[in-house]
Structure formats: C-alpha cells, structure tokens
Symmetry: C2
Subunit: 340 residues, 2 copies
C-alpha cells in the first residue's frame, strides 16, 4: 500500500482553502489525516470532507503541526510569516500560497511544469506557490521558452474578482443584483465599482509606478526560470469576471521561432490545452474556463511587430491553477519523486 500523508490546510474557509478541499478529494490525494486551521473568526466551524465532518481549529503557536507532513497555507502573508516556524518546526513541508517568502533565496518558488525539481531544495521546509498571474503566464510561455530563451515579455492581464477572495466575488454578484434593481452599488472590496468597469490597479503602487502585482510577474518569472536576462513588463487590470484570469502576452525570443513549432509544442505541453481555431471562433474565455484545471492557450500567432515575437491569449482558473491546484501539484510532484 502506498504511503499516505497527514495534511493540514491553513485558511480552510477562504476561497482557496475550500478549493484545496475539493482538489484533495477529486484528485484522490493520499491522505492519512486531514486537519483544518483558521482564524478566530472561522475556528469552530465544521466542514464536510468525504464522509466526515472536520472542525476548523484555531491556528496558534504550539505543537499542533507535530505530526503533519504537508501544510497548505493560504491565509495571507502576515499569517504565513507569523506561523511559519510553528508549522515547519517538526518537519512539515509548508506549501505557501501567500507572497510572504516567494522571493527569499532559501525558499524555492515552484510551478511544477516549469521547475518542479526546485521543490526538492527547501532548507526552511517552505515552498512558495507563485502569484496566480505568474503561474498562468509561465505555464503558457514555457513551451516557447524550451524552443528558444525568451528575452522580453509584455503582458496585460484581465483579472477576475476571485483574486481578491470569495467576498470580492460575492460583491460582484451583488452589484449585478443591485444594478438590475436600480439600487446603488456596494463598493467595498475594490477601490472602485467593478461591474461594467475595469480597474487598472491590482495591489499597491511601487516607486517605479508599476504595481506590486505587476512587479511580482517580473521578479517571480526570473526566479522560477533561473534567468536574469528575461524582462517582464506587465499591466494588471481587474475585470468584471468571477473566477478565471486572462492574459494577452507578447514574447520576444532570443532566436526566431517557427509558429508551427510553437503550436506543436503547445499541443503536447503539460498543463496546457491549446484552444485555438479561428475558423470556428474557438479561443479560451473565462466563462468557459472557470472551475477547470488547465491553462488554456489560444490566439497563437506571430507578433507582426517583431521578427522574433510570438503573441498569444491565455485563460486559467485563478483559484485552481492560479492557487490551490498548483500547490497540490507541488505536493504530488514531491510524492512522485519520493521526496516527502
């Protein structure tokens, strides 16, 4: 009988936390025991998993993680920083969905299809799960990168409400009801109304007038690809969509690449579904991609502004591949590699 693992989810009641539960079930993750942790607000609530009811325990300092093998954490950077020692002290592998440790040198940052092997070297017992927009972009462009190194990426995002959590999704749905009934719209989760609008700001602004979200795409890409030559200029925009992110991407490669080679590479690439048939109006859309696992790629064509350019459109479920699924896949990779 193959090995089973004691698993913990920290932030179990959030949008990503709930997705962890669905994924562990759907993917038949080898669970020996499952414990759920949360803040004072969610502690005591009960969640059904398979045939049993599990109570969310209060996350606190102490020895609660003594027997845990794998902890999936998604409760914000502050919580991850505060409890990293508590979680990892007795040997649990912490796969962290927050931005707390992503750029730390002694924490690998992993997209399994791109740099799975990095997960094996984790001196602090922590593995970083990259930002959703980075994961999706790298899964989509990695097949090109394998043909020729990519030197530049320009990317504009069309990010769904889910990136700001379950309550942000609920607010967008509420705005629909309010708009339909002619009531004033509730605007709390975003700086501005999202329904029938676009907000060209995700996360806070930095000194170079890029947002933190945009610079994550720059910095995380270089770390994951181990490539300090690649430069990423991103414009991140929130759009009135519930849970799948889309990205329009231009890459410039070191050597010219043939578009038919890229197409072939996409067709066989792990984690990618090529949905690209202009003749039949087939291309990825967030409405269709919500709730599914792959990174969908379409609108694949030469960049007519550059002899070494390729442009494409990608859509992926932000809560799945953009967060929970990628973290679970990191754990599955370690299990396959007998590294845990």
């Amino acid at each position: 009988m193959s090995k089973k693992y004691n698993v913990a989810i920290v932030g179990a009641s959030g949008a990503v936390g709930r997705e962890f539960l669905r994924l562990l079930h759907q993917r038949d993750f080898p669970i020996a025991s499952l414990r759920l942790f949360g803040s004072e607000r969610s502690a005591g609530k009960k969640i059904i998993f398979r045939d049993s009811e599990i109570e969310i325990e209060l996350l606190k300092e102490g020895d609660d993680f003594k027997d845990i093998d794998i902890a999936f954490t998604s409760a914000g950077a502050g919580v991850s920083k505060k409890f990293a020692d508590t979680i990892t002290r007795h040997g649990a592998v912490m796969i962290d969905n927050s931005s707390a440790f992503r750029m730390d040198e002694d924490v690998p940052l992993v997209v399994p299809e791109v740099n799975g092997e990095d997960a094996k070297h984790r001196p602090r017992g922590i593995i970083g799960n990259p930002n959703c927009t980075t994961i999706q972009m790298l899964v989509a462009v990695n097949p090109i990168y394998k043909i020729s190194p990519i030197l530049k990426i320009r990317v504009s995002t069309y990010q769904s409400a889910s990136g700001a959590g379950a309550s942000a999704m609920a607010e967008l749905e509420k705005q629909i009801s309010q708009y339909a009934s002619g009531s004033p719209l509730t605007v709390e989760k975003f700086p501005h109304q999202l329904l029938l609008n676009l907000i060209p700001q995700v996360d806070i602004f930095l000194d170079n007038d890029y947002t933190k979200e945009e610079m994550k795409m720059y910095n995380e890409t270089r770390k994951i690809l181990h490539d300090d030559r690649i430069e990423v200029s991103a414009t991140c925009v929130r759009v009135p969509v519930l849970r799948a992110h889309s990205e329009a991407i231009w890459v410039e490669t070191e050597s010219p690449v043939d578009i038919s080679d890229v197409r072939r590479a996409m067709e066989s690439a792990e984690g990618v579904v090529l949905a690209d048939n202009p003749a039949e109006a087939l291309y990825p859309m967030p409405f269709a991609a919500a709730g599914s696992d792959p990174v969908f790629v379409g609108r694949l064509r030469k960049d007519i502004a550059s002899p070494t350019g390729i442009t494409l459109w990608t859509v992926g479920d932000q809560i799945r591949k953009g967060a929970a699924l990628n973290a679970v896949q990191i754990a599955e990779y370690l299990i396959r590699q007998k590294n845990i």
Copy 2:
C-alpha cells in the same frame, strides 16, 4: 455672421447617429439646415433636435444631397459604398464612419489632433473616420511620436459593447437583469455571452490569424502617421463594459525618450487628459469616461522590458471620440481652415 452649413446624418437612429445629434447641439455646430436619413426600418420616425422635430428620410438614390455641405455617415460599410456617389455627387463632403473607404488611397483617413491637414485633400469628397480603437490609440501615443518616431506598438484592447451598436449595449444590460433573476441569458449580438466573460475576438479572422479589427489598428496607424516603418501588433478583446474602450499600450521609440518629457507632452496634448496619480489611485476607467470627450491617459511609465519603451493605459468613450466626435471634429477643422 459666420457661415452656416447644410448638414445631413446618415444612420441617424443608430448609437453613433444619435451621438451626432447630441454633439452638433452641444458644440453649437453652425447648422443652417439638418436632414436625417436612414433605412426603411427607421424612415418616418421623428427625432427632436433643438426646438424642432425632424423626420428621418429614406436614404435612396437621387438628388436628396444636392444642397448638403457636410454628410456624416454611419450606417455600415455596405450603405456607405452603395450611396457614396449619391451623397457626394453635388459636392457634399462625406465624413464616413464606416470602414468602406478607409484604406483607399484617394480617401484621407483623419484624426484631427494627428493629421488634420490630410482632410483638405479629398479628391472623391470622402474623408474616412478611423476605427475607434485606432483613433484612441493614436491620440494617446501621438505626443510620444512627436518626441521620437515610434517603431513598434503592442496593444491589447478592452472594448465595450457599444462598438457593436446600441442593440449590443441593450443586450449586455438585459444579460444583467436575466442573471439577477436566474433566467437564461440572451446571446445574439456577440458570438458568446458577454456578461462576466471576455471574448478575444472583435470582427472576423483573417489569414494571418489576426482579426480584421486588429489589422485595422496596424494599417490605419501607418496611413494616418504616413509612416511605413511603424508596426502594430494588437489583440482585441470585447469586455462587459457599456460604452468606453480601454487599451494597454507598449510603444518602442526610435530614440530613448525621457518619461518626464512624455508626461509634460501629455499634459499639453490636444484631446488628451492625463489622469495619472498612483498615490491617489487615480487612473482612467471606462465607468468614469463614458459620455465624455477626451482620450484619458494614465499608468504612464517606462517599459521595464525595453530601454526605448513606454507603456500606458488609455480610456475613451467609443461612441464619442471613437466615432461621432472625431467625425464632427474633422468637420470643425475644415470650417476653421475655411476649407469647406
């Protein structure tokens, strides 16, 4: 007393046609007489303009345009082609919002802030009004172009429902009501549901896997700027927004340009409003720009992927500057230049 003009609007009952009426009134256009034309479906309907009621006349071959000085046409490329001779035969200047003649060598294609003087040379009496996405992009990047020629543009669009007409806007609003009441959504005006979705296709696909809309941005830009070096790679996406288009733009200039020089140029550029203050979460948004005249520019910064690159975000009302306003401004330019 300054000269007044006999004006005609063809396609008076459409979204752009109605905007012509509002603009002619608001801008106090020097009208001697105003006649409205439409298809059999709208002929006979009456429209209030200032203090009088004007009946929409059936557009037909004949001498109806004998005394017209300026005809604003916005009834689709088929109608423009069929009736161009009827409209211009007796000397009327036809300012055409359709794509019918835009790329014809003997038809100038004009954005007044960029190439107003081209409007003076119109051997066929026709002046083309560019596509909405091109107008907005060129007003936004022209201040940069004046500092150094632009060699490359990558642009992704976030196009509102209005680009597909008044009935498409109505369908998006209907989808909101239907979603709120749990009813199935009506999907007729676009190939897919637009509410809570994105459709990465505007207009039909061409042989190079770009859409016609995307290639308009390439071809019209070169024509308007009289520059065959500039190359534009566009990804055009329909978003669930009512009437303002947004664009994320990356330009590469021939010589490096200083971002503070660009900022100063934007501040004084005709037709541009710079709305760019990250510290106060100030940037252009379609919700705020709907119904107003300028092209709003924000998120202005260095392209960190290129030493000669600038990136920016622009929002403009598609029915105004993207269509009716630009056409009226062409006429106003000719009047100021005493060229009509």
